[in-house]
């Protein structure tokens, strides 16, 4: 109390003086705000956030979508916990779903059916929870690749990239632990895959599996354990990481796309209050509305069709939710390689896919550090890269996505085969070869496309927009009329960084020299001020000649009539 007493008058006077200056926010705050402020002294805090500037761009909003779907997950999940019973005790189903009446099912399965068919709004909440989970992961992926392709992970945001990466992994864990809970055949098959993957780990695998399942698979413990993981551990970890993610976002300030007046030292945009509070608040309800609409109209995970879990059946078309598909794809592609050593089977057909998954994730997590090591760039970046200005990064990102997509498609090979009337064997071979060939092709094609776009934009800066109007001079020479870019548009095209390969020696290792060569060997040099001056002078000269002939009237003959 002794410390708060002297600060109170200053806080009050500070808010009073700014109110006198007539800030929009403070006028609102004055109505009862002083009363509250004298008790919690939050004015400075509110003022700080109200004046926080955010740049405006549609691609910046996918993180928000993820956040909002998480809120929807918490709300709908809370509803579900009131009815779901996480127990594997066997009961006889006596609910209203006729085709399963009399079946021996677990309490978890029974309560899921009860929730779906007998609790009012239960099925809607289940579907909202599941659709929100799919949207949560979609939004995380889109957000992550927006950040990747625009270079928003560069200093000072490397750690926040890692936080986001961890959120993506936790999202997968949350999703997996969640769809395993109803104890239906499909989710049990998924758990069996996890059990198999664990048991493939040499030496400790069997112990790990026994530890997780409380004995031999499936045991009687896994559902209660997953329940605790799903509703307590993982959401708590996600909440904590979201908090860190957002605190770091506030500390770093938001990145912005290049534009006139935008630098690494400012943020150009609108204040949080009132613009973004309205936009973000409204956006939450839009996301909520979309998820509610989809959940009310579209079925998801009808566990009564899959039936109660029984280790013997595996239905055709058994796949995990989309964000886990890629982990199934590797298992479907790998040939059945294994060998025996000292009487122990080493299942390469499990270990190799797991190593590949680990490598893919590690590449993603470590990319900011790899790139900063290559470029040696230690500056802070708040202005984003346009993806075509970083051809190798963009190419690597597209190659990564192509591997991910091939793995996901490989996990759906049976459905593709059935629906497109293709042989599943041919598809498997196509993906087996494709996973080596397609990423390389995608990298190369993407990189060349980026370089072409750079070349085209370089040309645009130097020569302006071609108007398709041609003037013939008296000596027969043809000149096309070019419309010069305005300064604002030109700035976006000339502001980017230029990196060159390093040569080994002088403290540069040969590895780093090779890496810089890989990244920057093929480069289109940005327009230099000298080049721009020369081009402008040339354009001015041409314009002079054209104007002398046309008198500044650029209308074509057919327009004149």
């Amino acid at each position: 109390m002794a410390t708060t007493t002297p600060t109170k008058p200053t806080a009050a006077s500070a808010s009073g003086s700014s109110a006198a200056q007539g800030g929009r926010m403070m006028k609102l705050g004055a109505v009862g705000g002083a009363w509250l402020d004298q008790r919690v002294s939050g004015a400075g805090f509110v003022k700080f956030f109200a004046r926080k500037i955010f740049p405006d761009h549609w691609s910046f909003m996918f993180g928000e979508v993820a956040l909002y779907s998480f809120v929807i997950l918490l709300i709908s999940g809370t509803f579900l916990t009131m009815f779901f019973v996480p127990s594997m005790d066997e009961v006889v189903y006596e609910g209203i779903y006729a085709p399963l009446q009399g079946a021996h099912v677990s309490r978890a399965f029974e309560s899921t059916l009860h929730l779906s068919f007998e609790v009012k709004g239960g099925l809607l909440f289940r579907q909202m929870h599941h659709w929100a989970a799919l949207v949560f992961m979609v939004a995380i992926f889109v957000h992550m690749f927006r950040v990747f392709f625009t270079g928003a992970f560069r200093k000072p945001r490397e750690l926040n990239w890692l936080v986001g990466f961890s959120l993506m992994i936790l999202g997968m864990v949350a999703g997996f632990s969640g769809y395993s809970l109803p104890d239906d055949v499909l989710s049990g098959n998924g758990l069996r895959v996890v059990d198999g993957l664990m048991k493939a780990i040499p030496i400790v695998g069997t112990y790990l599996s026994m530890l997780l399942f409380g004995g031999e698979f499936p045991g009687h413990d896994i559902i209660p354990r997953l329940f605790t993981i799903h509703i307590l551990l993982v959401p708590a970890a996600i909440l904590g990481l979201i908090a860190i993610h957002l605190v770091l976002l506030v500390l770093h300030k938001h990145t912005q796309y290049p534009g006139p007046g935008r630098t690494d030292r400012n943020v150009v945009g609108f204040p949080l209050f009132p613009v973004y509070t309205a936009k973000a608040g409204g956006f939450f309800f839009l996301v909520f509305g979309i998820i509610a609409l989809v959940s009310a109209t579209t079925a998801i995970n009808g566990v009564w069709i899959y039936g109660p879990y029984d280790p013997s059946p595996v239905s055709a078309g058994s796949q995990p939710d989309w964000y886990m598909l890629w982990t199934d794809g590797g298992l479907r592609l790998i040939p059945g390689w294994e060998f025996t050593i000292f009487g122990y089977v080493i299942s390469l057909n499990m270990l190799i896919p797991m190593a590949i998954y680990g490598a893919l994730l590690a590449f993603l997590a470590l990319y900011p550090f790899i790139e900063s090591w290559v470029t040696g760039d230690d500056r802070e970046h708040h202005v984003l890269d346009l993806p075509y200005n970083t051809p190798v990064r963009t190419g690597l990102g597209v190659a990564w996505i192509s591997i991910y997509v091939i793995l996901a498609l490989a996990a759906t090979n049976d459905l593709i085969g059935m629906k497109l009337h293709l042989s599943i064997n041919d598809l498997t071979w196509f993906f087996r070869i494709g996973i080596f060939v397609i990423p390389v092709l995608m990298f190369y094609v993407t990189k060349r496309l980026c370089l072409s776009m750079q070349r085209q934009r370089r040309d645009l800066v130097l020569h302006g927009v071609e108007t398709s109007k041609v003037v013939r001079l008296e000596d027969g020479e043809m000149l096309e009329i070019h419309e010069p870019l305005n300064e604002y548009d030109r700035w976006v095209l000339v502001q980017h960084d230029d990196f060159r390969p390093l040569t080994a020696g002088n403290g540069v290792s040969s590895l780093r020299a090779a890496a810089t060569s890989f990244f920057f060997k093929d480069r289109i040099s940005p327009v230099t001020p000298a080049e721009l001056r020369e081009a402008m002078a040339h354009a001015g000269h041409e314009k002079h000649e054209i104007d002398a002939l046309t008198g500044g009237d650029y209308t074509t003959p057919d327009q004149r009539h």
Binding site: W58, L100, L186, F283, V294, T298, A299, S315, W322
Partner: protein, 266 residues
């Protein structure tokens, strides 16, 4: 006994024992083999009309006697139809799979080429080639007293691995597939179990009793009747179509909102 023992090394003893063993096996098989009653009786006219139809439409592949046909390279163009029974004909011809439209990994369902009468006549002819399962009668397919839970259990354990838990169909090797079961007539589902068409295993009355088969049919019909309580079923193909839906339609809606909110005020 002694005389018999003394001759046990006779060169012909092996042949005699072999003959006895064959007789025993054959006799036991003949006595115990699963034989479904020929419920429907066909007239001689049916058989004659069926034979005419058979010669005109089926003999190219199955041979003029229905014993199958082999091409110049020794590959079977059509299997022998001796003993497949009327049920097989009713299924294959009744669902339009036979006569086959074109060669391929398997005969696809199409609009039936034969009408009901012609199908019956063909069935009569094929049934006359050798005893086999007959077309199930109405009492067999009385679904009113069926045990749905039993049918569902059998379906999930024995059928879903190819046909999908929702009966939405599934892929097999080399372009073959288990077809979707929605909208298939009860009789045809029953006959498919009994005769094992194409790549399907045979579930004869000894390993799946007529009541069990009826329960499976009833379960499939109940699934169809229940529809999709949660809304659009997306083909009942599970998480893949759900994920695709999230990445296309739901994401498009969300991007629409972001573009709207991100647009500068005019």
């Amino acid at each position: 006994m002694k005389a018999l023992a003394a001759r046990r090394h006779h060169p012909m003893a092996f042949v005699v024992i072999l003959l006895l063993a064959l007789l025993a096996t054959g006799g036991l098989y003949a006595a115990l083999q699963p034989r479904s009653a020929q419920a429907e009786s066909y007239s001689q006219d049916d058989v004659a009309a069926g034979e005419a139809l058979f010669l005109a439409n089926c003999a190219t592949c199955h041979g003029t006697t229905g014993a199958g046909e082999v091409d110049a390279e020794g590959n079977a163009t059509g299997p022998s139809l001796v003993g497949v029974g009327a049920a097989a004909v009713d299924f294959q011809v009744g669902t339009g799979r036979m006569p086959m439209q074109m060669s391929g990994p398997q005969a696809a369902r199409k609009a039936p080429q034969m009408n009901e009468e012609q199908t019956r006549q063909l069935a009569a002819y094929v049934a006359s080639l050798g005893p086999g399962p007959s077309v199930p009668d109405e009492s067999t397919l009385d679904l009113a007293n069926a045990d749905l839970e039993n049918g569902g259990n059998i379906f999930r354990i024995n059928c879903a691995m190819c046909h999908n838990a929702a009966g939405a169909g599934g892929a097999l090797t080399r372009g073959k597939y288990a077809p979707a079961l929605g909208g298939v007539e009860s009789t045809h589902i029953y006959e498919a179990m009994e005769t094992g068409p194409q790549n399907m295993p045979v579930f004869n009355d000894d390993n799946l009793s007529p009541e069990d088969k009826r329960d499976v049919v009833a379960y499939l019909k109940a699934l169809e009747e229940n529809g999709s309580p949660g809304g659009i079923s997306l083909g009942s193909l599970g998480p893949v179509t759900e994920g695709l839906y999230a990445w296309t339609i739901v994401l498009a809606l969300l991007v629409g909102c972001t573009v709207w909110l991100g647009a500068k005020a005019k």
